[in-house]
Chain length 209, copies 2
């Protein structure tokens, strides 16, 4: 009489992140917890419900994360005013924070891997992956850069390159850094400091002198 929902969820998440939802059996999850599969159903009414609760928890955690960092994370508000105070520096800092978040925060790390494995399964998963990890963040940065260009905070070269390409140039090294982390977790510190250098370099290159 010990296991709680949180524990089951995290155990399942780790397995989902390594084999994919469909390939993980209730037996595996229970076995990992040292209980029998029947006991799982005291806490969740199905395997799917475990998965759904993981998604839900990620959304909750994501909101908190968004509040902590000064740069709003996902939802783009049409009202342009909200970006007026976003500086290039804070955006670069945000990128570095994102690296730490997706590699060092245990839940975020496994969630990212899980959703990576589910991204091609159906439209819902595809959208989730896109919004959280690929097109979403790019579009978000793009919007910020567009604002920066409008308010003349970037140099002429930046203006010429365009907001979308600036977003790609900033966001791509983050994405690759996360991939490099997955390739060898031991390189974490090196990867992180390299990313720091690259964002600093980015700052210098595009900021209005």
């Amino acid at each position: 009489m010990k296991t709680n929902k949180e524990e089951i969820m995290l155990t399942a998440l780790k397995l989902f992140a390594e084999r994919g939802f469909e390939a993980v059996s209730t037996n595996m999850i229970a076995g990992e917890l040292g209980i029998t599969k029947g006991a799982l159903y005291r806490h969740y009414k199905s395997k799917q419900e475990i998965f759904d609760s993981i998604i839900e928890k990620m959304f909750e955690q994501d909101e908190k994360q968004a509040e902590e960092t000064n740069v709003p994370v996902r939802e783009y508000e049409e009202d342009a005013e909200s970006y007026e105070h976003t500086s290039l520096e804070s955006l670069c800092e945000f990128v570095n924070n994102q690296y730490s978040y997706w590699t060092e925060n245990e839940f975020a790390l496994y969630f990212r891997r899980m959703i990576t494995l589910e991204q091609y399964r159906n439209e819902e998963m595809k959208k989730l992956y896109r919004d959280m990890l690929s097109l979403g963040p790019v579009k978000y940065s793009e919007d910020l850069f567009r604002e920066m260009i409008k308010s003349d905070r970037l140099n002429a070269k930046a203006e010429k390159l365009g907001a979308r390409n600036l977003a790609i140039l900033l966001y791509a090294p983050l994405q690759l850094s996360i991939q490099l982390y997955d390739a060898d977790e031991k390189d974490n510190e090196k990867i992180k400091s390299d990313l720091g250098k690259l964002t600093k370099e980015f700052e210098k290159r595009w900021k209005k002198k």
Copy 2:
């Protein structure tokens, strides 16, 4: 009496690329082909053998691809001479070719997705993913940049930034572009032309004047 090994392999690959190897059943593969699962075993002795033959075919195709493009793709030869004639231009062109290869070549496209879904399953898959899609290409570019710096083909800023970071700056936009393609295949032409712009920009920025 029509189905051949090639047909089975490609059908299986598409399913593996969307759900993952373990989640795809022999029934699904056979169903997609319009035959019964028993018939599969006339061509392959197990589901695993279908998977293995996909890997094998990818290696074969990869070798051909490496011969066609003037830039050697993977295996790094200690002998530094082999890089002497690799120019920054051809490396950038190689990056653009890689985008087309991993999005427009049917087999490469589905193989990439499949291996993406298998990357966390075990050490063998992890290595395969790393070598073909993440750390491998970065290391390869890094070696090329190191040679370029040594032979003084890049400018002072490039030298200061270092070969690894140059590799990241060149390779990251390719990786992200591929992800963006997966997010919405219809954007292909736009993504490709943006990547072209970014590599041109890269060329101008780091080449010795």
